[in-house]
Each structure stands twice: as structure tokens, then as C-alpha cells.
């Protein structure tokens, strides 16, 4: 097992370097650079000397290979540098935006799992019943509905309901407060975005749970368990569900890694200052160091999630052994 994990970690190095090269090149292919954005912000022409001074100040006068080596070297030792736009350390920029995004992502995952696994299991157990059809239709609708539209609709509903109940429309604050400082204030900010993202997430997970359960319920060992008179509840929980969880765990892991895309759009809808919006700002300002750090963070989360999922496989299914 240890050797397998080590092998996988070594294999992830080319992926990380490749992603680093891709984001490095993509950012430099964008016409202009951060100095042009900064100096040309007020309009008018930018003098060559001011541009050269700006380039020298943030290290853009160096050759591209040198800049790339600097970026990769810094990443290897955990030094992400300073944001070219704000001048603050990148770690600090990310740390100040991370809590809200992370909380939404975790809450969305909890919402998704809490809805998907019971409903997916019931749907499989009551295959082709009206309940199964309803669950499947709701799941497909969840995949088809754009999360930003769901966000807009939820805002619409909150406005209308609060107007009806309180006499004036109410919306939660957009300034993030930590959970332990003001639990109600915190939940009122993150709950709608979490449900918006969680619905789609739950729909995908529900479909996978149903199809995995259907497959497992036809296995011989389930028939054996039934034949020896085991209580149905025990068969479902201990024998079927545990084995059906393999593909479901993979999917939950993969979807968690993909949440960043959902966050960019959802944070826009709810006007939240999280990682998603920081991403958009960083690219728009052509802040190379910040964009590079954010992409590397996302790719690293993806790689680690994949690894964790594969290791969980071995734990869930003893038949799988890694060489």
C-alpha cells in the first residue's frame, strides 16, 4: 500500500508540472500584461520607461524560462510569492477568501450525500415503482438545471417570502462572518449557495448510487445472505450499500474537485468574495502569480482527491490490493 501511494505521488509530478506549464503559457499568451493593466487603467498612453520600471519591479523583465523555473521552484518549496496586483503574499490573499468557499463546498457535499444516498438506495430497492420514476426525474432535472439559475430563483423566492412575511424584502449580508462568531449570520450567507450547488451534486450522486445498488443487489452474495435468512436491513446496510459505495465515493471525490467551477458562477450570483471570484479577478488583472497559485492549488486538490479515492477503494473493497 505504501509503495502504491508513493508511486501515485510520483506519477502526479508530471501532471502538476504540465498544468504549471499550461497556466504559465496561457497567462502569457493574453495580450498585454499586469503593468499595462495597472498603468493604462486611467486611459492614455503608457511611457516605455514607466513600463520597464514596472516590469523590473515585479520581475517580468527576466526571460520566460527563468520566470518558469522561479515559479516551479517556489511551488516545490511551498513559496507562492506575492500577488502582482495587491503586493500581498498570495497565501494571505487565498487564506482570506478560502473559508467562505470551503464552507460552501463542504456544506454542499453534506447536502448532496444526505439527499443522494438514501434516495438513490430507495430508488434501487423500489425499482420501476412510481417513487423510482420520481427520484430519477428529479435527479435528471438536477443535472439539467444551471446552478446560477437555481441561485437566481432562490434569491427570488427569499425576496418574495420575506416581503410577504416581514413586510419588506430581506437578503442575507454579503460580508462573510465566521461560523463561531455569528452562527446564524454565517448560515444565512452560505446555506443558499450550498443548496444551489448541492442539488446538482446530489443529482449526480443519486444516479450513481441507484445504478451501483442495482448492480450489487443482483450479486450472488446478496442472494446467499437472503437465503440464510439475514434481516433485509442488515443485507442492505452491511452487504449491499458498503459495496455499492465504491463508484459513489469516486464520484463524490471527483465532483468535490470540480466544485471550483460551480463556485465561480455561484459566488457571482450571491455576490460572495470567495476563491471563485478571486480566480476571475486574478485572470482579469493578469496577476500571473495569483492565477498560477490558484490553478496549482486546484490541480493539487484534484490529484490528492483522486489518490484518496483510490486508497478508499482498497479500504471499502478488500478484493482490491495494490501492488
Amino acid at each position: 500500500m505504501h509503495r502504491y501511494i508513493l508511486n501515485r505521488l510520483l506519477l502526479s509530478i508530471p501532471t502538476l508540472i504540465g498544468a504549471a506549464a499550461l497556466v504559465f503559457l496561457l497567462m502569457r499568451l493574453i495580450p498585454g500584461d499586469i503593468c499595462m493593466v495597472r498603468l493604462g487603467g486611467s486611459g492614455g498612453t503608457v511611457s516605455a520607461s514607466a513600463l520597464a520600471a514596472c516590469h523590473a519591479q515585479i520581475g517580468l523583465e527576466r526571460s520566460l524560462p527563468l520566470q518558469f523555473l522561479d515559479f516551479i521552484g517556489g511551488f516545490a518549496i511551498g513559496d507562492f510569492g506575492t500577488s502582482m496586483w495587491s503586493g500581498k503574499p498570495v497565501v494571505q490573499e487565498i487564506a482570506s477568501r478560502l473559508p467562505v468557499s470551503l464552507e460552501i463546498a463542504l456544506l454542499a457535499t453534506i447536502v448532496a450525500v444526505a439527499i443522494a444516498i438514501p434516495l438513490g438506495t430507495i430508488s434501487a430497492l423500489k425499482q420501476n415503482s412510481w417513487l423510482d420514476h420520481v427520484v430519477r426525474t428529479v435527479a435528471i432535472a438536477g443535472i439539467a438545471t444551471p446552478s446560477f439559475w437555481l441561485g437566481i430563483l432562490s434569491i427570488l423566492i427569499v425576496l418574495d417570502v420575506s416581503h410577504y412575511l416581514l413586510g419588506s424584502p430581506w437578503m442575507p449580508s454579503i460580508d462573510y462572518v465566521p461560523l463561531w462568531d455569528d452562527p446564524w449570520g454565517n448560515l444565512s450567507i452560505v446555506i443558499l449557495p450550498a443548496i444551489t450547488i448541492g442539488y446538482r451534486y446530489s443529482a449526480v450522486t443519486m444516479r450513481m448510487t441507484r445504478s451501483a445498488m442495482l448492480e450489487v443487489l443482483r450479486e450472488d452474495y446478496i442472494r446467499t445472505a437472503r437465503a440464510k435468512g439475514l434481516v433485509e436491513q442488515l443485507i442492505i446496510n452491511r452487504h449491499a450499500l458498503k459495496n455499492a459505495m465504491l463508484p459513489v465515493v469516486t464520484l463524490i471525490g471527483m465532483e468535490f474537485a470540480f466544485l471550483i467551477g460551480g463556485l465561480v458562477v455561484t459566488e457571482q450570483v450571491f455576490n460572495l468574495n470567495g476563491i471563485g471570484r478571486l480566480f476571475v479577478l486574478a485572470v482579469q488583472n493578469q496577476d500571473y502569480t495569483l492565477t498560477q497559485a490558484l490553478v496549482m492549488l486546484t490541480v493539487a486538490v484534484f490529484v490528492v482527491t483522486n489518490l484518496v479515492v483510490d486508497v478508499l477503494y482498497a479500504w471499502l473493497d478488500p478484493r482490491i490490493r495494490f501492488g
Partner: protein, 293 residues
Amino acid sequence: MTAVTDDLPVRRRSWLAASLRFARRQPLGTFGLVIVVIAAIAGLSAEWIAPYSPTANDFAAMTEPPSAAHWLGTDQFGRDLLSRIVYGARTALIIGFVSAFVGGFLGLVLGVASAYFGGWIDDVLQRVMDILMAFPLIIMALAVVAIFGTGVQNVIAAITVPLVPRCARVVRSSALSIREVPYIDAARTSGFSHARIILRHMVPNVVAPFLIMLTAFVGQAILAEASLSYLGLGVQEPTPAWGLMLQGGAEEYASTAPWIAIFPGLAIALTVFGFSLFGDALRDAIDPKMRER
């Protein structure tokens, strides 16, 4: 020998009979297909169906609720929502189909080639696919738009790239099992070229999972286009696009003119719903293991 074959009943099912059988066995899938066909008709014949021009402003009828004159109401610029949704179907379907087909085709070729050649070619291709899978779609799109500017072709490019590795992964796993089949060895020993073996002997055998994936891709591409347009990174005004219709006005007028937010979103959700239902039914109809599920 000939007598025997002559006596055998030849089961030739007509196209119509096969369709009716599909409709009877897959009512939800047929419903999905009907939605897709309606969207396609709207997109193809928008000029004849739409009651108004999608860009015409009627400043006397701004944010007007649904009425006999404007069935789905008007937006903040006095443009007829129904007409914009009908024309928006064209934008959505063009982007959806082109991205899905180009991304799907590239993924098909790369996935089969990766499985066929194996060895270092497979390793390198898989690492490249890993990078593309791990790279956030939205950042790729942001960068593509920043480099090349906004517009339909660039949106298609931004959406196509992430579809390639997803397709290649699935196709590769199907193709790996086909590689071991004796007729591929026979083709190799007959001295056929790699291109001929891949295109004539391997690709046709992975077409079934590929087609099912393609219907899902069209829906995903429509959703991605809507998200990008909503963020202001996709199709630009005045081109009618569903995601773009939800940008700006939809939130601002959420409480006073909710129809601006409701109908374009409904158009996106219904169309993608249609593609998903049809794709699911197609999978169940093609895959014998899924038939009883």
C-alpha cells in the same frame, strides 16, 4: 445450404417500427427526444417562428409582463423574450453540437489510439489527459477569451477542450478490451496500417458508448455555454443567448420582473433535460444489461 438460409425468416425491422418500439419501451426518452426536436425546430426556423426580431427594442413596452402581444413578456430593453428564447435555441444548439462533436471526435481518436498503441504513447497521452482533466474549465475559458476575445468560435474552443479527455478516458477503457480480440491481431498480421486498424476495426466497436456520451456532451456543452455567457465570457450582446439573457437584468429585476429570470433559465433546463432523458433511454436501449433496470 442456400435452401436453409432461404427458409430462415428474415427479421428486417423498418425504421418506423424501430422508432415505435423505442417510444413504447422508453416513454421518458421519447419525451426527451420531443423536447430536443422542438428546440431544434425553434433553432432552425427562428426567422419564421419568432414573433419579433430578437434585437428590436420597444421602449414603450419595457419589463412588460407576459401578455397577448408578448407571450413571455419583455426585458428591460423592451425586447420580446419569446423571440430571444427562440433565436437563443440556435446559439445553444450550434455551440452544443459543434463542441460535443469536435470534442467527442478528438476524444474518440485519442482514446482508441492510446489503447491501440499502448506503451509510452499511452503513458504520454494519459498524462496529457490528466492535465486537461485537472485544469479548471472556467480558467481555461477565461484564458481563451482573454487571448482570443469573446465570440461563438472562441466559446466553442473553450468548451471543447475539457470534453476531449472525458471522452478519451471512456473510449480508451472500451478500446483496451477490443485490442485483445483476435481479429485485431489478424488485421495486424495482414499488414494493415495503424490508421486502417484504428478507423476500420476499432472505432466501429466503441461507437455505442461513444454515441451515448455524445448526447450527454451536447447537454453539458449547452450548460457550459450558458454559464460562460452568464459570466460575460461567452456570447456577447446583441446575439441572443440564454445564459446572456440571465446576466444583469435577471437579478436586478428579480422582484419586479421575475419573468426575465424565469423563462430563459427554463429554456436551458428543459433542453438539457431533454438531451439527458434521451441519452439515458438510448443507453438503456443499446445496452442489454441495462434493459431490465
